[in-house]
Symmetry: C2
Amino acid sequence: MEKVNLSEKFSLFTNHWEPKIVGELNEQYVKLAKLKGEFVWHQHENEDELFMVIKGSLTIKLREKDICLSEGEIFIIPRGVEHLPVAEKEVHVLMFEPKGTVNTGNTESYKKIDLLEKL
Amino acid sequence: MEKVNLSEKFSLFTNHWEPKIVGELNEQYVKLAKLKGEFVWHQHENEDELFMVIKGSLTIKLREKDICLSEGEIFIIPRGVEHLPVAEKEVHVLMFEPKGTVNTGNTESYKKIDLLEKL
């Protein structure tokens, strides 16, 4: 049982769009990711997904509106809702989602991360 | 579907040891709380519990050691592990736990919060 220091964990990786697992509870993972640029439109059929911005700014595009998140802001994307994360500059995010969640959701064409790295 | 600004939500209440619900996903609640002083030793039989310090410092006493958390630090208390949160000065925390979790865990003698307030 050790604490997790977010800054320290973020210093351990540089790749974008590759979430790292930093905690686990109640069949959910706490993940950290660095995002930059545009991801792909996707949805998660059976999982709600939480994004919390730790550093920088993130836009989560939904079909009907854009959600612009700054540091200290959280957004929960309900299951089944199409979304597209976009970050003009690098942003550090904390994510919270069930263990089985694949970051590209229903989008088969995009590279899947089969084995998530634990930090 | 609205974002949650943590600072704004924390400005809406002052009471200590009364977590407020600010989000819900996958049968879990995201809660915010202001803590000051000492709680009671307790454990949650069936739920793991996450604490993230947003502002200030928090000590989570375990039977075998103390975990000292500063801003940007997370600690997950596994189910069944006795713990005692202590905050010398007021601390703002984010908590993540299953919907059914009662903040005092197994400790019947302490006032239970029957109806959690949503902000």
